[in-house]
């Protein structure tokens, strides 16, 4: 505090000169401003020129088309949608389809990637060779071919709906996808969910209490009977009082296809499979690099404490390796999300397929639609990066680094 009092009062002009001008002083500031002005002017010329050209050629412009009826149907919709909805809703439908395939793909890719990496580092010769072959084969084949392969392989292996494979008579697998019973909420649903939420919160509180007791006073508290009662007993009690929370609608074969039930389409399965196995090959190498970056003395220290190999990895090595793993892992997550746009090859209705594809050719408004699609991918990627940055920061803080 005392040093600040002796400094001259901060002068904004001087600050600007230092930040923008650097060593060149005011000349540098002038150059910076001129450069920014030129950039702004070029941007303005591009936009006004594009607008003038569009007007001259009588090509419709603007975002008014978003309120028009789309007039076509989409196969997989997470929100209700029909052909009489607007292009804006098509955009949301496509976006949700992209998000769901990316999210599921990221989860599977991470799990498979970690497993493959640990197998590759395993002392078991067969296990490590098999995972090495997996990595080398998968990451060296173009993704588009893998997507097509999974799609055609999945389709070829499955029978038509009339000969579908029945799983206990409630779920059916055919080349129309996996049909499962759909859940319908009943009167008992709300109290059931409320009690379940209460149970989860109360269990977490108990868990923290037990940890504190362990770390502060060295007391071990047995909490699992209470947790069991909270998580299962309370919801079960609501079922007895209010009746079943859910009933299930069974799918039935009618005509060409199944009526009722919910369905996972084969396009989704093929795309998720291809994206997650492909990205997992890269993640496996990243995780391997991360683990190898931890000094092997840490492993030895773990075993000298009497920890098993698994426990040493889980408690000592992986937490330290995460510091190295997280930044490149973020890249892979971003890649997976962007690669999901290859969906159009197999007819999965993602953002690029239904919005930058069908909607674009129905309306012809390429500039607006491509700009919206690019903006959306940018937002998704920036959001993913932000989340991973926060996670990376927490990992680093946890290690006291």
């Amino acid at each position: 505090m005392s040093t600040e009092a002796r400094k001259p009062p901060p002068q904004i002009a001087l600050k600007i000169r230092r930040i923008l001008g650097g060593r060149a002083g005011w000349n540098g500031v002038a150059v910076q401003f001129a450069f920014a002005a030129i950039l702004g002017w070029i941007g303005y010329e591009i936009i006004s020129n594009a607008r003038a050209n569009l007007e001259n050629q009588h090509i419709a412009a603007g975002f008014g088309f978003l309120r028009n009826n789309a007039g076509f149907d989409v196969n997989q919709t997470l929100i209700s949608y029909s052909g009489s909805d607007t292009f804006l809703r098509v955009f949301v439908v496509g976006l949700l389809n992209t998000l769901v395939v990316s999210a599921v793909g990221i989860v599977f890719a991470t799990v498979i990637g970690f497993i493959v990496a640990l197998c590759r580092l395993s002392p078991n010769w067969l296990l490590s060779r098999v995972s090495e072959i997996y990595v080398e084969v998968i990451r060296n084949l173009p993704l588009l071919f893998q997507i097509l392969f999974w799609y055609l392989a999945v389709l070829a292996a499955l029978p038509n709906p009339r000969q579908s494979i029945s799983l206990l008579g409630i779920a059916f697998i055919s080349n129309r996808g996996l049909v499962i019973p759909s859940a319908i909420g009943e009167r008992g649903l709300e109290p059931f969910l409320a009690m379940l939420a209460f149970g989860v919160v109360a269990s977490l509180a108990l868990h923290f209490h037990a940890r504190r007791a362990l770390f502060r006073q060295g007391r071990v508290i047995r909490i699992w009977p209470y947790v069991l009662g909270l998580l299962f007993g309370l919801p079960l009690a609501t079922v007895l009082m209010f009746g079943l929370p859910l009933t299930f609608e069974l799918p039935q074969l009618r005509g060409f296809n199944f009526a009722g039930g919910s369905r996972i389409i084969p396009e989704f399965v093929a795309l998720t499979l291809a994206l997650s196995t492909y990205t997992a090959a890269f993640i496996a190498e990243i995780v391997r690099a991360g683990i190898l970056s931890v000094h092997k003395g840490q492993m030895e220290a773990g075993s000298s404490l009497g920890l098993s190999r698994g426990a040493t990895l889980r408690l000592i090595v992986v937490p330290q390796a995460m510091r190295v793993i997280v930044p490149p892992l973020t890249n892979q997550y971003l890649n997976l999300t962007k690669n999901s746009s290859l969906a159009v090859a197999i007819g999965y209705p993602d953002l690029v397929s239904v919005f930058a594809g069908t909607s674009l050719s129905q309306t012809g408004q390429a500039i607006e639609i491509i700009a919206m699609t690019m903006g959306m991918y940018l937002l998704i990627s920036l959001f993913t990066s932000a989340v991973m940055s926060v996670y990376g920061w927490r990992v680093n803080r946890g290690l006291g680094a």
């Binding site: 569009l54 090509i59 007039g71 989409v74 296809n257 012809g364």
Partner: protein, 338 residues
């Protein structure tokens, strides 16, 4: 200075047309020495490359006829294969001079894309193809069926309208290209494949066992297919429009690629006008006096083009039907050349 900025910004604004609205497409084509023609990625009968890379089909012949009229050389065409969803962007950006790619004439495409249709090369309608083993005889029996369709087409919207109007449910699977759509249909992903009926017959030839599949009798839409040019160049619009009319007029007058030279010598006033020894209609279009002779020598008259590509002389063997001349029970009709 203004010109420099313009050049700079135009270079930066990739994908946007650099041509002003009153661009001289004919001059551009002549300077380039080559017509750039947008076609499909392979639809037998309309535009498809053979094993040597030569393009054939009705849509291809329209472009060859235009090249014939301008250069007197059918080889001076560069064919640009385009997917359904890329075709309009390619035309708007100036990558192609004419889009001749089994494209349906609709009001929204005519008014909002900055492009114009010049005529109808083929009167088509949307139909359905199914496996014979499904034992379906009418499109009205298709409730709850899965339908494969190519994305970015009028087909997708007609399909939605038809099933809604008939209170039927369906599942739509939309693919980016024709080949992917056909492959998914063949793999059993869907029960029904839908596109323009001519396209159904053309694609059936690509299947492993064409006889296991049948085209249902219903036609659920009007699909007049024709060439498109950019909006704002009236001369170029006229050239493309009258090339097609010249082919139809030639058929009407019995002028074929074989007898065109003899017909040109006859003292028939109408033949003299059309074939250029009387009047200068060709020059008014920006072409030469003998433009019709050039067109007919290049590809033949409309009837010859039809027979060779989709009609009796082709594997598709489609009847003339609506595409017959107006005086033979069809719809093909050209305004008089006089």
């Amino acid at each position: 200075m203004k010109r420099v900025t313009l050049a700079l910004t135009l270079a930066l604004a990739a994908g946007l047309s650099t041509q002003a609205a009153d661009a001289q497409t004919l001059k551009t084509v002549k300077d380039r020495g080559m017509l750039s023609c947008g076609v499909s990625q392979g639809l037998p009968g309309f535009s498809s490359p053979d094993d040597k890379g030569n393009w054939t089909g009705i849509d291809v012949d329209v472009c060859r006829a235009i090249a014939g009229a301008i250069f007197n050389d059918p080889a001076k065409v560069k064919f640009v294969p385009l997917s359904a969803k890329d075709r309009f962007t390619a035309l708007q950006s100036g990558e192609i001079d004419v889009l001749s790619r089994n494209t349906t004439w609709t009001i929204s495409r005519d008014t909002s894309l900055g492009a114009n249709f010049t005529g109808v090369t083929y009167y088509d309608g949307q139909g359905f193809m199914v496996k014979k083993s499904l034992k379906v005889n009418s499109a009205l029996e298709l409730n709850s069926a899965s339908v494969c369709v190519q994305t970015g087409t009028t087909t997708e919207q007609n399909l939605a309208d038809y099933f809604k109007a008939n209170n039927m449910k369906y599942e739509v699977i939309a693919f980016a290209t024709n080949d992917e759509t056909v492959k998914a249909y063949e793999a059993g992903r869907c029960d029904v494949f839908t596109t323009d009926q001519s396209g159904l017959y053309a694609n059936r030839l690509k299947l492993a066992n064409p006889n296991d599949h049948m085209v249902l009798p219903e036609i659920i839409s009007k699909e007049p297919l024709g060439p498109m040019v950019r909006h704002g160049d009236d001369q170029w619009f006229d050239i493309v429009k009258w090339t097609l009319f010249a082919m139809i007029t030639a058929e009407e007058l019995g002028v074929t690629s074989k007898n065109v030279d003899e017909k040109a010598k006859l003292e028939n006033p109408e033949l003299k006008r059309v074939l250029g020894s009387d009047g200068n209609f060709g020059e008014q279009l920006g072409l030469t006096k003998d433009w019709v002779v050039r067109i007919v020598k290049t590809v033949g008259n409309y009837g010859e083009v039809f027979d060779r590509n989709v009609g009796a002389g082709s594997p598709l063997a489609i009847n003339r039907g609506l595409n017959n001349l107006w005086n033979k029970g069809g719809l093909q009709y050209a305004p008089p050349i006089r």
